[in-house]
Assembly symmetry: none
DNA sequence: CATGAATGAGTCTTCATTCAT
DNA sequence: GATGAATGAAGACTCATTCAT
């Protein structure tokens, strides 16, 4: 990477950092592009060198932490199913919480309407999460932890809805609702009953 | 109710109907107050006779159908718990689906941030739903269907999250996800395992 | 017309007057909407109460003087054909000249691309002029001044092109080209030779 | 010409070709410098190695075909006047038509306001055309085809206006108007009557 | 209660152009 | 000569909201 590319990376990083802080502090709608560039110390127009639209920076902000989860799951193949799921859910919700409620709200608003997200080359977040969870269950079917006739898709749907639902409830709750805590309780108390009929 | 009040009622109704149709068709952000008043056949300024802010009409639109659910639940006291819950969830999701995905998206966006909704004298939708579900469970504890030590609040949280999560997933899914169908499956397959530890 | 409508008329008139003066002085591209509203003494947003886009005011500015020509032609039915045409051409070019070269340039630029002119309920200026000229010739065919086999459409094309061409040359010429003078010479010297083959 | 100059020629050519195609397709205002460089496969900044301003590429694009006309006319000295004029007009309009309606529109818009075109070292297109046509007529006066007292300047004005007028009408007409066809008719039917008083 | 003209803050976005590499 | 990141001026346009009629 030459000097030019390096400087570009830096500018991009500055924008994301500034954007993250401002959104956490005031919320997406309350700030404008100029606020972000001013805080980042770059020209207003430079924002559009890296993001097509104001909204796009949120996608980038939230993309970062989620990337790591997938890797982690690879290193847990030998764990027990419920343990793996528990880990996944905790990590998922940790990422959500660490972004802050305002970033989460804006992110949810953005992805709520798939038409809002052009150039979504990574596929939709929801589908991505869906597939990741499903693959965990399917792996468990393959290796015999779950019965052959386990309705993987159905379970995936139900569990993903629970996760996204906790996130939604958090956003709606004015911060009083602790997503990580409830995720913890959900895993501890409900995961086993939900899976029980299909466990060997 | 005199003539003036009657005519006022009519105007209000016209605005709500027009607003509902437009939001269904194009989404809240894509329409403006004038679109609504034009479709309703009234003057632009009249909108503000009935709604303080543009956003307020959405609350009114969605308030209507949900109002009936509470009444229906009163007439089901003798049903079995799981049957009552199933009915509640179905009705809830029917209301959601009947509004159309765009209304649902906008409604979710609006309530996602409680600060967006001042003058919220009816309390927040989420709290309202939460309390309604909790009261169903508490009734069941009272009449002995559920054990005395049932963690009503925890179960309410988990189940409400599931409902809101299905709604969120629907919004994100470009309409392919059928919320009513998945609610049906959830009730049929998961409700009993979730409650089983607490059923007598 | 009540007080409200009257005041609206006034505002519109103020905008057109201010716009005309500014465009004459500086040219359309060199001014912005705020310049116009400031000069008109109204709020910036009010411009958009009367015109959908910045460009639209030019159409209104130029529409006014041309409207009168049609009326005048009605009162000249008894004149000789060449006299009528001469009058029409002079009046046409007077209107063009009276708007000033900058208005004329902008108007030409605007109508140069028909796609630029939405809501063009009056039809395109060019078609309108075309039909008006053609009707003069057709009237002359009807009343025997011109032969029955006169190619009205062809002559219309050629003469309209001459008029628009003079206008175009004026715009290009940095004001040195006098459209009215050349129109005069054209009528005096060329009109008769052009029509001669078809005159009785 | 060394290697560097050669490569520069290539880049310049690529830009002009790309620019021409894009303007034909979308019109000048609808594209930006980056569109051109992207299509040409060069860096954005390289545009400014060859053109001082965005507009300048249009002048280059339209300059190309017209250059040939002058040469051709040299080889027609022995033709009859009307034949030479007819040839000139046809070639002129062929060049116009071959550029496509969007290039023609943009070119007309550009030259419509002479102030737009600084560094116009070649003189203005209009003057150039004017002089070329006038020289044809003056040659004809010299060699006795036209009378000594023929008002060459006046005729030039009138005929140039007709040519530019046809071009203008074409631009306004949404492409339905066929400039070459009408030019043909004009030459066939009107050229002789216009010149008749001055022919020997 | 109804009207609709007037308001003007607010913002996104575009893009020609520059210049360090 | 080529690159493409950075610039920042510039402006159009929207629209929720008000208020005199």
């Amino acid at each position: 990477m030459n000097k030019r590319q390096l400087s570009a990376q830096t500018t991009r990083r500055k924008l994301i950092t500034a954007g993250l802080e401002l959104i956490k502090e005031k919320g997406f709608d309350a700030i404008n592009v100029e606020d972000i560039t001013r805080k980042a110390g770059v020209a207003k127009g430079s924002f559009y060198t890296y993001f097509k639209r104001k909204e796009d920076i949120v996608l980038d902000i939230s993309r970062t932490p989620f990337g790591e989860i997938a890797e982690e799951l690879q290193n847990m193949k030998k764990m027990e199913l419920i343990e793996r799921l528990t880990h996944y859910f905790h990590r998922f919700m940790e990422c959500v919480e660490s972004c802050g409620i305002n970033v989460c709200r804006q992110w949810t608003k953005d992805v709520l309407d798939p038409n809002n997200v052009p150039d979504n080359k990574d596929g939709q977040k929801w589908k991505y999460d869906f597939e990741m969870l499903k693959s965990i269950l399917e792996d468990a079917i393959s290796n015999g932890e779950l019965k052959k006739d386990t309705p993987a898709e159905l379970l995936t749907h139900i569990i993903i809805s629970e996760l996204y639902g906790m996130m939604t409830c958090w956003c709606m709750s004015d911060g009083k609702f602790e997503p990580l805590e409830w995720t913890h309780k959900f895993c501890k108390i409900q995961l086993r009953p939900i899976l029980k009929p299909y466990l060997h």
